[in-house]
C-alpha cells in the first residue's frame, strides 16, 4: 500500500485535528513539569500547517513535508518548534520529488526525523523527551517492515511502542528541557513531548487503517 500526495495532506490535517483535541491534555502535562505551553504550541503550529496545506500547489511529498517543517519552525514558540520542524524538514529530503510514498519510505522518514530530533535537541533516550517515544517506535517499525508484516499490524505496533515509551517517561527524571531543572520532582509525570509524538503516531495508524478499509 502507498499514500498519494492528497492522502499525505489528509493525514497531516488529521494530525492537526488530534493535536487540537488534545491541546488541554498536553498543556496540563507541560504545566506539571515545564512551562505549560506544549498544547498551545502544537495546536498553533498545526493550525498554521493546515492553513498552508489548504492551498498548497504541489504533488511533491518532499515539498509538502518541507512546508510543514518550516511552518512549525516559525509558528511554534517552544522547543517543539525547532524539534518537530527539523524532523519534518529532514524527512522531506528522503522523499523529495515523490508523488507517492510506501512503508519503506516511511521507515526512511522516521529514521531522518529521529536523527534530526537527536541532532537538534542533543538528547538521548532516557532523558525524558520525545525520543523516549520515537526511538522505540522507529526500532519497532524497522524490525516489522523487515519481517514484511501487514501494514496495519506494523503501524499498531509502532504506536504501541511509542505509548510504552510515554509510560517509561513517567518513571524517570528529566535530563533535558525545562523539566530538567526540577530533577527528581519530574518523576511521576509523563513527558508532554513524548505524548505528542505518540499522538502523531497513533493518528498515522488510525488514518491509514481508515484509508485502507
Amino acid at each position: 500500500m502507498s499514500l498519494t500526495s492528497n492522502q499525505t495532506i489528509l493525514l497531516l490535517k488529521e494530525i492537526g485535528k488530534t493535536l487540537e483535541e488534545h491541546k488541554t491534555l498536553l498543556t496540563e502535562l507541560d504545566g506539571a513539569i515545564g512551562d505549560g505551553d506544549h498544547g498551545i504550541n502544537m495546536n498553533k503550529g498545526f493550525t498554521a500547517v493546515t492553513k498552508k496545506l489548504d492551498d498548497i500547489q504541489t504533488e511533491d511529498i518532499g515539498h509538502i513535508l518541507k512546508t510543514v517543517g518550516m511552518t512549525l519552525v516559525s509558528n511554534v514558540g517552544g522547543a517543539s518548534g525547532p524539534l518537530y520542524g527539523t524532523a519534518f524538514m529532514k524527512a522531506a529530503v528522503v522523499v523529495a520529488g515523490k508523488n507517492e510514498i510506501d512503508l519503506h519510505d516511511f521507515v526512511k522518514i522516521m529514521e531522518e526525523a529521529v536523527e534530526g530530533i537527536k541532532m537538534r535537541g542533543k538528547a538521548v533516550p532516557g532523558d525524558k523527551t520525545m525520543l523516549d517515544a520515537l526511538e522505540p517506535a522507529y526500532n519497532t517499525l524497522y524490525q516489522a517492515v523487515e519481517e514484511n508484516q501487514p501494514i496495519e499490524d506494523i503501524l499498531k505496533k509502532v504506536k504501541d511502542a511509542a505509548l510504552q515509551g510515554v509510560q517509561y517517561t513517567e518513571k524517570i527524571a528529566a535530563k533535558k528541557g525545562r523539566a530538567s531543572y526540577l530533577g527528581e520532582r519530574s518523576i511521576g509525570h509523563q513527558d508532554p513531548g513524548a505524548v505528542s509524538s505518540y499522538l502523531i503516531l497513533d493518528t498515522i495508524y488510525k488514518t491509514i487503517r481508515n484509508i485502507k478499509d
Binding site: V73, N75, G77, A79
Partner: protein
C-alpha cells in the same frame, strides 16, 4: 564592528539586557534582540533570530548569546539557514547571558575582533551547549 544578538524566551529579559549592556559604552554598539513568540508569548523562534542576525550583521561578525533550552535550538536552526559565507562569521556562545552581554559590549566598543571577543567570553561559559 562585531554585532551582538541576544536570544531570550522573554522580551523584557532581552530588552533589559540590552539596556544594561548599552550602559557600558558611550558609543552605540550594534545589539539586536530576538525574544518571545510572534504572538507575544514566552518562547523563541528561528525566524526572529534570523531577523536579529541580519539587523547587526557585517563581515566582521556576530556573536549570539541565548538564555536556555529552545533558545539554543532556534538559534542553531537560524544559523544553519544563513548563506554559507555568513555562517562562518556568526558564533553562538554559551556565556552567562547577562555577564556575557556586558563583557561583549565592552569588547566590541574597544573594536576587538570576533576571535578576541570569543576568547574573552569563553571564561564566562556556563556549559549550556551540551
Amino acid at each position: 564592528m562585531v554585532g551582538l544578538v541576544i536570544v531570550s524566551h522573554c522580551i523584557e529579559i532581552a530588552q533589559g539586557i540590552r539596556k544594561l549592556a548599552s550602559q557600558m559604552t558611550p558609543e552605540p554598539v550594534p545589539i539586536a534582540i530576538a525574544a518571545g513568540t510572534n504572538d507575544g508569548r514566552l518562547g523563541t523562534n528561528a525566524e526572529q533570530v534570523t531577523r536579529a542576525i541580519n539587523e547587526v550583521y557585517s563581515s566582521e561578525g556576530v556573536i549570539i548569546l541565548f538564555d536556555l533550552g529552545s533558545a539554543l535550538m532556534s538559534t542553531e536552526l537560524a544559523v544553519e539557514c544563513l548563506p554559507e559565507e555568513q555562517q562562518k562569521n556568526v558564533v553562538i556562545l554559551d556565556a552567562a547571558i547577562v555577564e556575557g552581554a556586558i563583557t561583549a559590549v565592552v569588547e566590541i566598543s574597544l573594536n576587538k575582533n570576533l576571535k578576541e571577543i570569543k576568547d574573552v567570553l569563553k571564561d564566562l561559559s556556563i556549559n549550556k551547549m551540551n
